[in-house]
């Protein structure tokens, strides 16, 4: 190239040094994003491999066997599966109606907006409180209340039985029911906040159309608003369910940690998450560790499925409303 005095005109098509930095940066961003996905795969692989000794020994019997006996090296997870399902079910039974009620209350104009906004924030704050703090509070404040309630139920409704065992049996305080109630408090903000967002996103015109036809407020809510928001509300509930299934510390602290399947709602029980929290640090035998990994893998798989479901439902809402 010959030196020339006329001003240089940059070639618009050649890559300059700046453009290379741009490319490198892009790879960096994309690489980080890839890493996040890799973590999920890594997680699955590590847990599956570590669970292998137990999977090959017990197979699917793990799911239907009630015995968990580290001394005999016999591991079955049924009691924990039962505790997880039962405590989550109780939590949903309470949190879904209450959470929906809150979501509706916060989207209607019963109170002025500047009162509702702080309330909505306070409901969200419930999600920020650490699980172990709920547990501490559950043991010392809630459980005594629950025991009083259980005693009352036992005296008055104790005659309701499955077979010859009462549904409202001996009041313990810590137990399945306490765990369910505490869980319901913890998943309440998930259900209430997301449902509220979904309800708020429903076009005002649908509401007006219903009112203009002579429907009352609650007829409008039940016949138009809730059906229109159903997909998102289901997503919110499924997300709440996922939280309840995986929640650990608070449950461990109030469920009584007894591996049994009892007909009584008030009896102590055990969940998969509590099992992991209590036994992992002390497990030494490879098969014991393997069985715990198996339980962990199970929990991982279930919450994964639940969350993918929730994701699909919530996504349908955001894509359906343009």
């Amino acid at each position: 190239m010959t030196a020339s005095s006329k001003p240089q005109i940059e070639n618009l098509t050649t890559g300059s040094g700046k453009l290379q930095a741009d490319t490198i940066a892009r790879w960096l961003f994309q690489g980080a994003a890839f890493l996040v996905l890799a973590v999920l795969v890594w997680m699955t692989v590590v847990m599956a491999i570590s669970a292998m000794p137990a999977i090959s020994k017990f197979g699917f019997n793990f799911l239907i066997d009630k015995t968990w006996d580290p001394i005999q090296e016999q591991y079955g997870g049924l009691t924990f599966v039962f505790g997880t399902i039962a405590s989550s079910f109780i939590a949903m039974l309470i949190a879904v109606p209450v959470g929906l009620g809150i979501a509706i209350f916060l989207t209607e104009d019963f109170l002025p907006e500047n009162v509702l906004t702080p309330i909505a924030f306070m409901v969200e704050l419930l999600a920020a409180i650490p699980s172990v703090v709920y547990g501490l509070w559950g043991i010392f404040v809630m459980a005594p209340f629950i025991r009083a309630f259980e005693t009352w139920m036992n005296t008055n409704l104790g005659f309701i039985k499955i077979g010859d065992k009462s549904i409202f049996g001996t009041p313990y305080g810590p137990g399945l029911f306490s765990a369910g109630v505490l869980l319901s408090i913890m998943i309440l903000p998930t259900i209430a906040s997301i449902s509220r967002d979904v309800l708020k996103a429903i076009p005002k015109s649908l509401r007006n159309a219903s009112l203009a036809l002579g429907a009352t407020r609650w007829e409008t809510i039940f016949r138009v608003m809730l059906p229109a928001a159903s997909s998102g509300i289901i997503g919110a509930c499924v997300l709440g369910l996922g939280r309840a299934i995986g929640e650990t510390m608070a449950v461990t602290m109030v469920i009584g940690n007894t591996p049994q399947i009892d007909t009584s709602l008030f009896a102590p029980a055990y969940t998969i998450s509590a099992l992991l929290a209590n036994e992992f640090a002390e497990a030494n035998e490879p098969l014991h560790i393997g069985a715990l990994f198996y339980a962990g893998l199970l929990l991982f798989a279930v919450t994964l499925i639940v969350n993918v479901f929730a994701e699909i439902f919530v996504r349908r809402v955001s894509s359906g409303r343009q």
Binding site: V36, M122, P130, S131, V132, F300, L304
Partner: protein, 289 residues
């Protein structure tokens, strides 16, 4: 059939059933809202009233007293929590922020973005205990013991989706015109992000990181079998490490009133951290959106 003309009287009251349903549901939803707020106030009330009385200078500077004796503190748990959260942040902040930039700034030209976003949402839903199991499998079993590293690793994975989501949120609050303005001056994407977008989004990003930190500081499940616990000051990052959260768990389940009191004190510290950061985050994201 045609719908019969009702009486012309507009003041004919609403049928009793419909009135009852309408008022009843209004009351019910109000009661539910109250019901939802009661636990918040009860938790705050008990943690404040029980926790404050247990706070003193020893708590921050002393080690736990030998079992059976009163007094002492949990300075080592505060130290351990801070160190493990720092380890976690040093892993999760760079990866998280870079990922969020990818999600927010490259979403227009990459189908890969939606898979990543899906993955982030799934990761956010993984129970913290499962993350602990994973960290146990990756760090504890290969390094031969419980350690601050293992705890930090678990907390890092826990923080990752929170940082990604809040950072992406903060980046999306930056108006698109700002990017166009930078492109129009001839800046490439990297320069636009580094010189315009990131500085503008910084308050939001920092708030997001603080949220993740406060969440990690209160997490117990991923630590109980990765970092375990310790009665002593930190002896090395490869040794079992105390933390506030595990301390609450351990002390709450003992029958000793003195230890239970310390659990309330530790709860108060976590709760104050969480509440302050949540309120700050609320203000930051509120004002900007």
């Amino acid at each position: 059939m045609t719908m019969s003309k009702q009486s012309d009287d507009l003041t004919q009251p609403l049928e009793a059933g419909r009135t009852f349903f309408n008022t009843g549901m209004t009351i019910l939803s109000g009661v539910f809202t109250l019901l939802g707020l009661i636990p918040l106030f009860l938790v705050l009330f008990y943690v404040l009233s029980q926790g404050f009385s247990s706070l003193n200078a020893d708590i921050f500077t002393q080690l736990p007293a030998p079992s059976g004796t009163l007094g002492g503190g949990f300075g080592n748990a505060i130290q351990g929590t801070m160190i493990m959260v720092a380890i976690a942040a040093s892993i999760s902040v760079p990866i998280g922020v870079l990922t969020a930039i990818f999600l927010s700034e490259y979403s227009r030209d990459s189908g890969f973005v939606q898979y990543v976003r899906f993955g982030v949402n799934v990761l956010a839903g993984v129970p913290s205990i499962v993350i602990g199991v994973f960290a146990y499998g990756v760090v504890v079993t290969t390094s031969g013991g419980f350690s601050a590293y293992a705890g930090g690793f678990a907390l890092a994975i826990l923080m990752l989706p929170i940082i990604i989501r809040t950072t992406e949120e903060a980046l999306k609050l930056i108006p698109w015109e700002l990017r166009l303005g930078s492109f129009a001056l001839g800046a490439d994407r990297f320069n636009t992000i580094a010189r315009v977008i990131l500085p503008a989004a910084l308050p939001g990003i920092i708030t997001g990181i603080m949220l993740a930190v406060s969440r990690a500081a209160g997490e117990t499940a991923p630590l109980i079998f990765t970092a375990l616990f310790s009665q002593y000051w930190l002896e090395g990052l490869n040794k079992p490490t105390a933390s506030l959260a595990v301390l609450i768990f351990n002390y709450a389940t003992t029958p000793y009133a003195d230890l239970q009191h310390k659990a309330w004190g530790a709860s108060l510290m976590l709760l104050i951290l969480v509440l302050i950061i949540s309120i700050v985050a609320r203000i930051v994201f509120r004002r900007r959106s």
